[in-house]
Symmetry: C2
Subunit: 459 residues, 2 copies
Amino acid sequence: MDASFPLPVFTGDAPLYQQLYRHIAGAIQSGALFPGEKLPSKRRMCALAGVSMSTVETAYSLLAAEGYVLAKPRSGYVCAHLLPPIPAAPPPVDVPPPPEPSRWAYDCSTSAVDTSAFPFSSWARITKEAVYENPGLLQRGHPQGDQPLRAALAGLLAQYRGVRCSPEQVVVGAGADYLLSLLLQLLPEQRAVALEDPGYPAAYAAAALHGRQALPIPVDGEGMNPDALECSGAGLAYVTPSHQFPLGVTMPAGRRSRLLHWAASQPGRFLIEDDYDSEFRYASRPIPALQGLDRAGRVVYMGTFSRSIAPAIRVAYMILPPPLLERYRRTFSHGACTVSRFEQESLRRFIAQGLYGRHLRRTGNLYRKKCALFTGALSAIPGASVSGAGAGLHFLLTLPRYSEGELVERAACQSIRVHPLSRYCHAVPPIPSTVVLGFAGLSEEELGQAAERLGRAWK
Amino acid sequence: MDASFPLPVFTGDAPLYQQLYRHIAGAIQSGALFPGEKLPSKRRMCALAGVSMSTVETAYSLLAAEGYVLAKPRSGYVCAHLLPPIPAAPPPVDVPPPPEPSRWAYDCSTSAVDTSAFPFSSWARITKEAVYENPGLLQRGHPQGDQPLRAALAGLLAQYRGVRCSPEQVVVGAGADYLLSLLLQLLPEQRAVALEDPGYPAAYAAAALHGRQALPIPVDGEGMNPDALECSGAGLAYVTPSHQFPLGVTMPAGRRSRLLHWAASQPGRFLIEDDYDSEFRYASRPIPALQGLDRAGRVVYMGTFSRSIAPAIRVAYMILPPPLLERYRRTFSHGACTVSRFEQESLRRFIAQGLYGRHLRRTGNLYRKKCALFTGALSAIPGASVSGAGAGLHFLLTLPRYSEGELVERAACQSIRVHPLSRYCHAVPPIPSTVVLGFAGLSEEELGQAAERLGRAWK
């Protein structure tokens, strides 16, 4: 046996025990050593391979631990019975390359924010303090997010948005999409979801992912149409009342009251109020959230810091009405909150030290100026009209002399990315000749240049 | 009309325009003002309420923006038609109190880790640098996680776990539970999931939440039983080969090969390999991951930093085989990664600066000592036997003279929390008289004290 035993050729790269182990394991896998075949004794192997006893012992015990060999009393190690190696699959299809970085000179899509006003040094200091002063935060925290942050959020939402809740109702999570997904898991009886049409693509995506039927409900000048909602038969509706995405409509009080009536009029109906960019309002003061008007416990309020601070800050929150909170606790009490506790504590300090309020005022003024500058310059294009610019970080532009496709293409020829409105439309035909323009990610100078190019593109 | 107009009583608390606005909105909502009724002219309202013109103008425009009143040309503002207020629901059921903090003197549950070795000052410094030196990280990052972190993970997993992947296959997310949930959304055709029995409760919970049938497959001395798996008809199996949860079994090479054959033998079959605590191994060297042996692209590898660093660090990762990666990119390319980019960059620096490796070695030694100490002390209890202690942060203890329930209760009388094995069992009867003991969260001193108390409890 010794003579035929396939000996390893040692190279300089890895520890000897590892090379010996790999060599023998490979021989067993390839069939060069047969099931039941005995390995040389440890002492013999030392001599054969020219290595120390401890090298052989480590390699043999590793082989035994992994089940390549079995230790038999009084007869040493024998090779185990392994199934033949699996034939390698045809070379796997190429891994698709990552999405290419923006090739646009001016990207007017809707998800960017202005980070020039971000208080880097304060945030860096706060993050450091949050780690250094809170060793307890390393252990598992509350599944809904830590109580001090939830209390800060409840206070903030009461002050800025008229939301009425206790910190117990707040659920913190890593992004609004994640929370929406959680919420759908919490409402398995809702087989269909009424969604705004045109509306937020991620809401449609979430419905599809969770196997729910998406029921597109037309948006009119006041938001989601309540008659169409009633007819749809849905028990769950997702709305953006502060600044409808993408039309920019603000839902007036009468319509709000209609939707709350819809929700309250049958057991088990719920409204999801996504207040995604309510922090920025230029034409009038912010309008209190639907949640604050709800007397029946039928509104789930959602918000995020992705726009008010930055997309990189993956902190969103939802306010669950008591019946859903009970369900949440039954269903998710075993889980951990998806936001790092250090980041939760950093955000709490950012709010408590007044830095968040200051940041909101600063960016609010910045966005107000940018919005005025960009809409002003674009309104000068003959025939162009702007709408939905009273709040948020995007607006619509309509220019009847071109089709939607022409508007997008002519902008692209100037290396400017604008989104066609039809991108957000489902059953409802889009407003003709209309595109969606985000302005937050470009500087004032860039906005001026982009407007000039668009003037040429759409002249 | 003027005479009957309900005038506000101003108090000192809020701006006057807000009080006026709230007062009129309230009057419209309560029905004190009727639909179609005219508001006093602005000038008249100044006189009636004794406030300035700008106060009245702000209040009226707010009422108009919210739709409480309509501006009619040449006739001023008239009250809108609102639905009657919704009757308040019966007072909502009390919000349940948060789960009570641990009331145990010694908590031997399985999710805690030792945070005494955490390098607070290095982590605090790194976090600060990660924020300060990377302003670009505020913008939206790659949905799978940023490339530099994915490259660092691919390198780490190749070195420590024998995982073979490109950074393109890595998906970073906020916790293993979140990634498992994502994966199930990616595999809608898998109506059933084979799960280890006994097994990880969160895997059962994830299956239930996503409407999949959980098929409990018995675990024997080598891990999930492959014959039972074949018979179950499942196309997807979730396994913990390095250190089975909760039995602590390490899957030998022969069984690994059987499972890989099972996966490769029919199209569309996949294995989920959860390597949740593979970093800590005391009895032999770590065994390479199943993923590294897979030639057919059927293994999804998952891991987490919850145990190797701390539960508060919400960073987990999975390695998708190419066909699933393509699916992932089609399905989730619109989303954002659920981990803050600052935290991603902090972790990358922690790895790149060699601090993670040092932390693993330090905690590995710590846990090895703790495990030896605790199992040693408990083995001294007459009749007690310990198993599954060769790796990870928990083990089993069997003591035939008491029932499982008695073991748990007698420990509780000493204010020690231990989990019954039956907690993790589904179709399979639990090993009699057996409990699961975690040791990571207690100090060596506490472990000694806990073992002493358990000795009294179980004598």
